[in-house]
């Protein structure tokens, strides 16, 4: 550890902070659907990766710019989110069942991706993919910073929406006690469809950035499970700002582990944090 220079430490702090933005973006939709709809959506990671693959495919095979691809994906995912919620409502799916179903759904997406584009790594080469701003001796990759800013903006907007608008307050009331909220005239069904659609759309946003920043492989779905669940629980369920802050915390912890100990130990950090949280702070959930 004595060999770690100060600038390496600072650089890994920045890397971790920005990686945390992406975690926060992924956590946002999961946190909202778990906290406000009481549905644990493991398929969230799968559709985020699906979004990434679609962005890459449209960009390389069809020559569609990522922002246009992103718009299409977000719209399509919004519709998917509504359809998913319709299935859940139609069959009266419980929290535990939702986890199994979305787990199976994630496997279907994974095997479809593998069937379509093989298990090989894919990389979306763009002109701005490798550009960075240089601040002193530190590199700040542009795309990661943009992802972080978008995550921050979405988290803040969602927070304000839940906090200050009628729709947001109604959603929180439904999460507390749906029958009572309904008795007060809140249209629970319509609102939950809207929220489910939004959560899926957020996964689409995350997917676009994943395509631009990361290397893609179908098994990547599972690498996120521990990290993002840890983030969601640290940030507290249904709290958008918390999701972002949890993402930053985990991202920085991971980056420091990579810089100071060994990159291969990094996955251990998020899972250990998650286990410790579940054991010692179960009240947070």
């Amino acid at each position: 550890m004595a060999h770690v220079s100060l600038s390496l430490l600072e650089q890994s702090l920045i890397t971790g902070l920005l990686a945390g933005g992406l975690y926060g973006l992924l956590a946002l939709g999961l946190s909202l659907s778990w906290g406000l709809l009481r549905l644990v959506n493991l398929g969230h990671f799968a559709i985020a990766l699906l979004g990434a693959y679609l962005t890459w495919w449209m960009g390389t095979a069809l020559d569609i710019a990522p922002w246009w691809a992103g718009l299409m994906i977000i719209a399509a995912f919004f519709v998917y989110g509504i359809a998913l919620h319709w299935v859940f409502m139609r069959f009266g799916v419980t929290e535990m069942q939702s986890m199994l179903i979305t787990f199976a759904f994630a496997v279907i997406v994974e095997s479809t991706l593998q069937f379509m584009w093989t298990a090989d790594f894919r990389r979306y080469e763009t002109a701005w993919g490798t550009q960075s701003w240089v601040v002193g001796s530190l590199y700040v990759p542009k795309l990661s910073l943009i992802a972080f800013v978008v995550a921050g903006a979405l988290a803040a907007a969602t927070w304000a929406w839940l906090r200050y608008t009628y729709v947001g307050r109604a959603l929180r009331a439904c999460a507390e006690d749906a029958p009572i909220a309904t008795a007060f005239g809140i249209n629970h069904r319509a609102l939950s469809f809207l929220l489910s659609g939004l959560c899926a759309a957020y996964a689409g946003v995350a997917g676009v950035f994943i395509a631009l920043i990361a290397t893609l492989a179908p098994s990547q779905i599972w690498a996120w499970v521990g990290v993002v669940f840890a983030v969601v629980i640290i940030g507290r369920l249904g709290n958008p700002i918390g999701a972002l802050m949890g993402g930053v915390l985990i991202g920085v912890c991971e980056a420091l582990t990579m810089a100071m100990i060994n990159p291969s130990w990094a996955p251990l950090v998020s899972f250990s944090v998650l286990i410790a949280l579940l054991l010692f702070k179960p009240r947070w959930i």
Partner: protein
């Protein structure tokens, strides 16, 4: 109705089938089929062992791969680095995996919040942590371990034959163990935990110990299976051992086949394995995996109980009548009087004593030092406005809540610190204001569970005893129904029957009369009097003043967590403080 003989017959049947299957490798059948059968044994063992904890008790684990992987690497390490004879690595792998499972259970099962999806999350995390540790240390080192040089015991002819035999042995062992748990008191307890863990504990089920036992068996079997797997593949890697399919398939197969039946996972494992490995590797394999996942979604949505229960229903409809077990109520067993009941002469002796009982929730004191004695053979009415602490007091006495200060003594034994199931076994039972039956156990089994765990009967006697109490409460016709099919009146009487079947010395009744109509109330009052006359002391919480006045020998009044009056009904009802609480200050003078 001889359950013991039933049990022996099924186990003997399993052993005979396994023994017959031993002949297969000796025939000239192609090695491919032997390997394929081993694969089926492998997945049956994994899915069936998973169901002991997760199917029976409802703690869905995504951590079976962690225990399996522990077994794989224990065997690989012992056989290659320490030159252990291979057969010895099988029990060693099982024991180490069981130790890991028990350790995790010991940490996790004491936390009430860690149920359902949080337990699933913690187990999936453990899997990745175990994988990361093995991969980053000398156990694997990231490059995998070769077992090619490990010599196989040539006990059963060829090498595939040996692996087949070991797989078959573990498969049969897993199924026998799972069946034995399913058919035991522990199995009944695990099912009760699945439906309502808090009630199970209050009815006398040692929930923590049972859950530990279940996870130890499940993880130990998975570990032993892992050891045979390691010699079969002869080159183990972290990537393949902890693959997402290893995590997922035991869950999928059990749910598919029906995870609440001992045979369900084996059925699911066979179907899924044939569907999956019927395809050669390559892009089709990925599609097959997707197909299995789609099948899981359909089963969860359309057959939430799995394939097995549907098959059993079909069997019941079309099988020859002689083969369908007749569901007759067992011969009722009338309980013999207890020694303690003979001590009815000692009426008025104190049986239960609360001294300065304090219970706080956060900053709110729900009980502010309640001191109360309950006498042998009396009916004590416990009244007070909503929020006065009546239900809290019951929860503290039965051990569901820990008390913060003070002491509770039952027949000379301090019980304030005991867990709820120990309190239940000492002879304190309760009913719930809103009935909380175990919804997926029959009415008969609901009562049998209370008789078994509260009064210490074996399964056969417990069911006969339950038949007696169902007759007593007028529910005999409903014995094989499930509680959701009962109306409120019947559910209240089921609560009562469960309380009585434990044959408590003290029975706490929490608003049994609320929601009943006038004639039903009269029926219930007679029943309660009769219960007392048989020697049971009764504490009952009630708002219905007519019942309190008619029934109680003494009345205790709680207000704001403090006892404000205790005495005979007519004295208490004229107490000015009590009148003030109920009717306001103006009437109290």
């Amino acid at each position: 109705m001889d359950l013991t003989r039933d049990r022996i017959r099924v186990i003997a049947g399993l052993i005979v089938v396994a023994a017959l299957m031993l002949i297969i490798p000796a025939t000239s059948i192609a090695a491919y089929y032997i390997a394929f059968l081993y694969l089926i044994f492998f997945w049956i063992s994994m899915a069936t062992s998973w169901t002991i904890l997760s199917g029976f008790a409802g703690y869905w684990s995504f951590g079976h791969a962690a225990f399996f992987g522990t077994g794989v690497y224990t065997a690989a390490t012992l056989a290659t680095k320490f030159n252990w004879p291979f057969l010895w690595t099988i029990p060693a792998s099982g024991l180490l995996a069981a130790a890991l499972g028990t350790g995790i259970g010991w940490l996790v099962f004491r936390l009430q919040r860690l149920r359902g999806e949080l337990f699933a999350l913690i187990t999936i995390s453990v899997t990745f942590v175990v994988a990361a540790i093995i991969s980053n240390t000398d156990i694997d080192g990231g490059s995998g371990v070769y077992l090619i040089s490990v010599s196989m015991p040539e006990l059963f002819g060829s090498q595939p034959g040996t692996i087949y035999t070991l797989g078959l042995f573990l498969c049969a062992l897993t199924m026998i163990i799972t069946y034995s748990v399913y058919r035991s008191r522990m199995g009944l307890g695990l099912f009760a935990i699945h439906d309502d863990e808090d009630v199970a504990e209050v009815k006398g089920v040692p929930t923590f110990r049972y859950k530990l036992g279940a996870i130890a068996l499940a993880s130990g079997l998975a570990g032993a299976v892992g050891s045979v797997y390691s010699i079969n593949v002869s080159y183990v890697t972290v990537g393949e051992t902890f693959e997402i399919t290893t995590i997922m398939y035991p869950v999928v197969m059990s749910i598919f086949g029906g995870s609440r039946h001992w045979l369900g996972p084996a059925l699911g494992a066979t179907i899924v394995t044939v569907a999956l490995y019927g395809f050669p590797a390559g892009p089709e394999a990925a599609l097959a995996r997707g197909g299995v996942a789609l099948g899981l979604i359909l089963v969860v949505l359309l057959l939430p109980e799995g394939v097995m229960p549907s098959l059993r229903r079909l069997w019941g409809r079309f099988a020859p009548q002689s083969l369908v077990p007749i569901r007759a109520l067992p011969e009722p067993l009338v309980p013999s009087p207890r020694a303690e009941e003979a001590a009815l002469a000692a009426r008025h002796a104190t049986v239960l004593e609360c001294k300065g009982v304090v219970k706080t929730f956060g900053g709110v004191q729900a009980l502010k030092g309640v001191t109360l004695d309950v006498r042998q053979g009396e009916i004590l009415g416990l009244v007070g406005p909503n929020g006065s602490g009546k239900s809290t007091l019951i929860n503290v006495i039965t051990g569901h809540f820990r008390l913060d200060r003070g002491s509770i003594t039952f027949a000379g034994t301090p019980i304030g610190e005991l867990p709820a199931h120990r309190v239940a076994r000492l002879g304190i039972a309760r009913s719930y204001q809103i009935p909380r039956p175990f919804n997926r156990l029959t009415v008969l089994d609901n009562v049998a569970l209370a008789a078994s765990f509260g009064d210490g009967h074996g399964e056969d006697d417990a069911r006969r005893m339950a038949a007696h109490w169902l007759g007593y409460t007028g529910l005999a016709r409903k014995a094989f129904d499930y509680p959701p099919a009962l109306n409120l009146h019947e559910r209240k009487f089921l609560e009562l029957a469960r309380g009585l079947a434990a044959r408590p010395r003290v029975l706490l009744l929490d608003e049994v009369l609320s929601g009943l109509n006038n004639s039903e109330v009269d029926e219930a009052l007679n029943l309660i009097r009769d219960i007392r006359d048989r020697g049971t002391t009764i504490i009952f919480v009630e708002h219905l003043m007519r019942a309190v006045n008619q029934l109680s020998d003494r009345v205790a009044v709680l207000d704001g967590g403090a006892l404000i009056a205790l005495g005979e009904p007519k004295d208490v009802m004229n107490n000015s403080e009590v009148v003030e609480v109920y009717l306001g200050k103006a009437h109290a003078t």
